[in-house]
Every structure is written in C-alpha cells, then in structure tokens.
Subunit: 465 residues, 2 copies
C-alpha cells in the first residue's frame, strides 16, 4: 500500500464537541447506549444527538435530523446506524466539516461488503475526516471522558486514569482487557478498538500515541498488519521513546487461519512479525495474562541498570520458587550480596535469618525487619532489582508492612516489586500497595516474566541510544 497522509487523532480523543449519529430512544439500541455512556461518564464537552426521524430530546439532549443542522463545529461524530446508511451520514459529516468519525456499525468487509467499505473510505478521504472503524468499539479516554464503547457499563468495570494505552484490533479482546485492568493499580490513558481499519490503522494510532504525553506505555493486540513498510518505520522510532507491548494472534497455523477468518487479516508468518518486533525492542506477550503483567511493570518501573535480582521473603518455599523463576529466565540472575551488605544484614537481622539470597526473613517478619532488610539491599551495588515477597497469611505481615514498602519505594533508586499470593486479605493489601506506587504480582513466574521484559527493553534502549 502506498504511503499516505497522516491523520490527526487529537480531536477524536480530546473532542470539544461530539455528535452521536443514530442516537435513539430505544434503550437497547447502540446509539442509545453510547449517548447514555457519554452522559453517565460526565463528558463535559458539547454533546449532540442526531437521528433522521427523531423529534423530541433523547436523554435530555437536543436531537437534530442531520449533523449539518448543528450550528457548531463537531470534533467527533460517533456513527451507529445500519451499514447502508453510513455513506450518506459520512457525506453529511464531510459537508459539516466534522474532523473525526468513529464508525461502530458492522456490515462491511468483515461480511464481504468490501465495496461499501471502500465507499466510506473514499468519502472520509475526500473530506479529510479521520475515520476509525468500521466494525469497532471505538475509543476511550478517561481524562477527556470520551467513550464510544457500546457495552453496558455494568458488565465492564471502570479502569483508573493512568499511563497505559491499549490498542486492540479485536473489540472482544479489547473489552476484556479493559475490564481486567480495572482491578489493577495502574490506570488507562487511551483505548482504541479499530476493527476493520479501513482508513485509520495501527500505524496512525501508534504515531498518535508516540507523541501523546499522557501515554507512558503502549499495549497492542493485533491479528495482522496492513502497511508493513510504514509499520517498520514507526516501530523503529517508537520504542526509542516508550515501551510497546504486543500480543500477536496467529502464532500457530491454526491460529493464523482463525485470524484470517476473523478480521480477514493476512497474518503473514508469525515468525516474520516476531522478528520485526524483536528487532525493534517490542515486548512480546504470549497471552492476555502476560499483557497485564507487562503493562504493570512498565507502568510502575523504569528500566533497571542490570538483571541481578535480590529476593526478600517471609516464606522460605516461595523464596525458593522465586529463585527458580528468576534463574529460569534468560537474562535475570540472583544477586550476590556484597560484603558490606552482608555485614549490615548480619547486624540488623535476628540470628535465625540466614544471610543469603533469597533472604528469608521468616514468618514473623514485621515492618521493621522488612524495612531494615530492604534498606540494606537497596544500597547494595551488586543488586539491580529488588523482589519482595510478602505472604499476608503469615502472623507478622499486615498493613504496616505494606505501608513500609510504600515508604521505601518513594526513595528506592532501583526497581522494586512485590509478590503477594492469596485471596481477600492479600487483595486488599495489593490495592493498598499499588495505590502507593508498588506493583504487586500474583506469582513468582509472572514477576520474573515481567522483570525480564523490563530488563530486555532497557538493554534494547541502551543498544540503540
């Protein structure tokens, strides 16, 4: 495909004015749900409803029979009407000088209606409208309170505001990830579900997110890449600026065939994509759960100076499992404490604590013992990363330990993560620690996987700097 103009997605994510085309009185209709979500979400820009047939207000919002009747410049038109009616609506958007459009309607190339899809692209191109979709969930930005998702809000827990942006070709994968991160302490910057990618595609979105100061980490789910050359160009630039985590579907022949059936993506060989991702320092996830682990580590931590991990634990067995998990990675190793560190630890720890890595503080370890141990290891020049295991089932571990870790984290000059495994009492402390800036992982393996991703990305950045 030829190189073509760049689209400004700014008005789509930070619109001063939004029109919902297909707004409806019928509470089951997509156009109703979207309008409702804007109102419930507290969107503070100017909001308009468009419906060819409507007369009275919908949800208290004035209804226009055409977007051309609105005496305001519209930044974003959300189009939720049957596919055959989209060209006319988009044509009117063009005449009304609408800047961007999200076409949530399905019924285009994904069901063989390629010509209809080509038609709306021609219209959007002719009027210079940046168009996302069709057949997509659209965009979400918790800061501007833009939310074009037509999913009932009770089914989807709200994510916090943060620095992680998600880009998903698949609406289903996108919405599950959005829902999943609501329980995490890191928050959302932008969400894109781009569906058929008829015009605006992953390259445009990456370009936008690369320059978006609110986005610290980019996370992608993709089934196929259309503009390979342009993708490589942006890939080369973007990872020098911020980390990009990618989950690519179609890893196996069966998966690639399924992906083709799903979004008509010509998946190409997974190996070819994988090679490009690796060449440009993308962090490659193998599962949705890994997307979350990587999102967390990059949201909370900067790259470490090396891969030597100190493990501090109040449970011996979990320390052993973490030593195994760290040593099983390619690039992380267990730190060897310096003589000075060993001296400090010997002086500050009770006799029963064996001064070695993993450092087992024992089941009665309290906030003081944790604090002393971490302080010693934080100052150790042989340690690059601190992994603290806190098992809250043990008698000594309580909110004071969590508070101590939050305090230490504020001055720590190296990545420090926590591994806490368990149910309600543990989850409460996870929320507490993550609110305080300490990322918490639910298993030794997930922590080691995340830390290695952080290290590898850091090494890539050093190599290309």
């Amino acid at each position: 495909m030829v190189s073509r103009k760049k689209f400004d997605l700014g008005p789509m994510l930070k619109p001063k004015s939004v029109a919902v085309i297909g707004a409806s009185h019928d509470s089951e209709k997509v156009g109703h749900i979207i309008l409702q979500n804007y109102i419930n979400g507290g969107y503070s820009g100017r909001l308009y409803a468009v419906n060819k047939d409507a007369s009275s207000k919908i949800l208290g919002i004035d209804v226009y029979t055409s977007i051309m009747k609105i005496k305001d410049r519209i930044d974003l038109a959300v189009i939720a009407i049957p596919a055959q009616m989209v060209p006319e609506a988009l044509e009117e958007c063009g005449k009304a000088k609408v800047k961007t459009a999200v076409v949530v309607s399905g019924g285009f190339s994904e069901v063989g209606e390629t010509e209809l899809q080509n038609e709306i692209v021609r219209i959007a191109d002719r009027y210079g409208i940046a168009m996302l979709g069709p057949n997509c969930l659209g965009v979400m930005d918790p800061r501007s309170r833009v939310d074009t998702l037509f999913l009932p809000t009770y089914k989807l827990s709200k994510a916090q505001i943060g620095g992680v942006s998600f880009v998903a070709q698949s609406g289903a994968v996108g919405s599950t990830v959005l829902d999943l991160i609501s329980g995490e302490g890191f928050g959302l910057s932008k969400f894109f579900s781009y569906g058929n990618a008829a015009q605006v595609d992953e390259v445009d979105i990456l370009e936008y997110l690369m320059n978006d100061d609110e986005t610290k980490v980019i996370v992608m789910y993709i089934e196929g890449i259309k503009r390979g050359k342009e993708f490589i160009e942006i890939a080369k630039k973007i990872t020098k600026i911020k980390p990009v985590i990618v989950l690519k579907a179609g890893k196996t022949a069966a998966g690639a065939s399924a992906a083709h059936s799903h979004t008509a993506s010509l998946a190409g060989s997974y190996e070819a994509h994988d090679a490009v991702f690796r060449q440009f320092g993308f962090v490659i996830a193998n599962d949705i759960s890994e997307l979350i682990y990587y999102s967390k580590i990059f949201a909370y931590e900067s790259e470490p100076s090396g891969g030597r991990v100190a493990i501090i634990t109040n449970g011996g067995g979990t320390g052993v499992l973490t030593a195994d998990a760290v040593s099983s990675t390619k690039h992380l190793t267990l730190a060897e404490f310096s003589g000075a560190t060993k001296k400090i630890l010997t002086a500050s720890m009770p006799k029963l604590v064996n001064i070695r890595n993993p450092l087992d503080l024992a089941g009665d370890a309290d906030s003081k013992r944790y604090g002393d141990a971490i302080a010693a290891v934080a100052g150790d020049q042989n340690t690059d990363i601190i992994a603290v295991i806190v098992l809250f089932q043990t008698p000594g571990a309580d909110s004071e330990v969590a508070a101590e870790l939050i305090k230490i984290k504020q001055t720590a000059n190296k990545p420090m993560i926590v591994i806490s495994i368990g149910s309600e009492y543990t989850q409460m402390h996870k929320i507490m620690m993550e609110s305080g800036g300490v990322p918490v992982f639910d298993s030794p393996l997930s922590a080691a996987t995340a830390l290695e991703g952080l290290l590898d990305y850091g090494n890539y950045k050093k190599a290309v700097a």
Copy 2:
C-alpha cells in the same frame, strides 16, 4: 533409609478426640489460636486443653496440667510448646496412648537442633505415635473440621469442601495455596503441611491419600524427597488410582541451593526427580498458578478420549488466541468438525456464523445460540474436548448463558471447560458456573495447559492399564 512401619493417619484427620498441648490464655500464643480455631471451626469431637501451669478454663474448655490426666483416649495431640519441652510432652502422650501428634513447634533440625529432633522421633516410634512435623502447620480437613493451623483466620479465606488434597512441605506455600483456592469452585479434601518430616513424611501421606475416598486429586509442593525408593514404590501405584500434581522447588541451581538452606532438603538433581515424576504419570506444575489450574481441571473433569479440541466463542480474537494456545501444546489439536456436525451448525446458526473451528458465535450470541452450537459439537465424533469462551462484556452474554452451560454440562459426555476473562461481572458468573460443575479458566493459555495435563494423564493411565 530403611523401609519402616506404616503409620495410620486416620486418627489425625478424623479424630474423635483432640488435645491442644500448650493451650494458652494469651490470645497471641499459637496454642490459643489453635484452640480458638477448633472452637470457631465447629469441631464436634471431644476437645481438651493441656497446659502445665493453667488452672481455670481456656475459651470455655477444661484445662489439664498433663495429657495423662485426661480420662479419654486421645486420637490427636496438637503440640504447640517450646522445642525443649516437646520430648516430655510427647513422652506423656505415649504413656497416655495418644494415637497421633502434630508438632507445630519449631526449633529442631531447621535451626541445627538435630539431636532434639532425633529424640522426639525415638519417643514417637517407641510409643507407636504417628507424628507430623515438627516445624509445620499441620493438617486441615474441612469435613471433620480438624484444623491445626495457627494462622489468624481473617488472613486466610476458607476453602469449600471438595476433592482436592494439598500436601506442602512449606507452610508458607501451603497456606497461600489454601487461601488462593478459597475463590475457586472446587473444594478441599485434606491439607498437610509436614515441615521437617522427622517421622511421618510425604510417602506416608501419599499412602494415606491414595486410599482416602474423599480425595480425588492430590497436589504436592515438595523441596526434597527423603525415602527415594519408597517414594518410587508409592508413585508407581498411586497414579493408577488418582492424579498427582507436583510442584518441585529447586528446578535451577540457585533454587536448589535455596531449598537446601530452607528445609535442609538434599534436592538431588531436579532432572532426576522430573524423570521419576514423568515416568509415573505425575502432572508437573511450573508455578503456583499452574497448581491451581491443574487442581481445577482434575477436580471437575475425567480424562478425555483424545486431544481434539473444539472452540466455541463469542469473541473472535479470543477464539484466535485459544486456537494458538491449543496448537502450541504438544498433544492437543484443533478438532475438524465432521460433515454431519457442519450440517447441523449450518442449519441452526445465523448466516454470519462461519462454520469452522474456532466457531465464532459473534458478540450477540445468547443462551440459545450457545446451546445449539455446543449440542452439535458435543455429538461430534471428531471432537474430544469442548472449550467454550464466554466474554461477559459482550451484549449477548449474561446469566442465561451461564445457566445454559451448567445444564449442558450435566449430560456432556466429554470434558467441557469455559474461558471467561474479566472483572466483577465475569467473576460473579465464574462462581455461578463453577458451583454448577463447569470449570472456568482465566486465559486461553491456562485452559490449554490444564487440558493438556488432563490428556497426558489419561494417556498415561491407558498405557499402564
């Protein structure tokens, strides 16, 4: 080590009478917490408190200055007193013909007091007491309401009653797993934390669980095996009867060294252990999270007749990822639907549903569409396993879909699992489905891992039958 007598652990798990030695008025003392847990847990057997110095009742329970003063035959003595006092207490247990003892006290070989540990083994052996520990959390059986764990109950959510038994050398790993499974629909049969394994060890416990009708699945965390020959003997027998899932610490040199420091386990080479586990059909977990996935699949499902998986989904992308996850295993494959199945599906599905595997029912799939699709695939002779993806964020998926899956499961003649990913609304439906007998996994990868474990174990059983 020489072959030696077998211990009857029956009275330890199903005691008609329990004495807590070291029962205390001090609510922070282990002996107090254990007594309290028996009372709170609703233990209905005869309960006694023993304290050398105590006079008045503790928590309403009569206190004896020695176990010998109790005019009742004691099935289980829980010993929670300082290490040096344990020999005398155990000697008195012997004289009082106590059948079994759990020594929770620490301060033995794990801190170099090997002679003290040898002494209590000699006493237990002399009197024929089956002794668990020392330095352990002991046992739990939610049916008999035996619970020797000295952990505050608010830190540890209660697991349901079920068929999975956990055996953990490490108290910390054991208690986190116990806590973790409280959120799962499968329940607990027995829990053993056996600590220093001075007398009763993993071989005795496996022997007991092999013959325990309440135990359907055995899950182990081990750092080292003492009696290799006897372990192999029991290993050979046990997996013909029920599945054994094992997480072995010390996979790496660093982990093995840490394990040695933790429980003085001579870990031997991980490879040697691994070879034994594989030879005898153990299911090998690589992480605590995998322990949970395997526990779940074996608790809910019988072995499949083969490894051909049908995937039914309401989210295309998640279907693709599941196809990838299934195809990435060694032994699972995607099923190729028979001509008859394709005909049935073509007749019953809407036009937009592409009749292939994964079968994408689309985002508006409701209980009827799920029901029709699963019924067709359940009757397909080319399908051995059904993996149903339900993304509850989509408009069509609700409690009716969950209810339909529960209904179908009751007559399904092949393993059927669900993959649902998400937060609160999803978790509510997970609980609903698991209560109804349908296991729910939180990612394609975890489901595929679990299913392959089930298939491999089934193949092992066929091979040795």
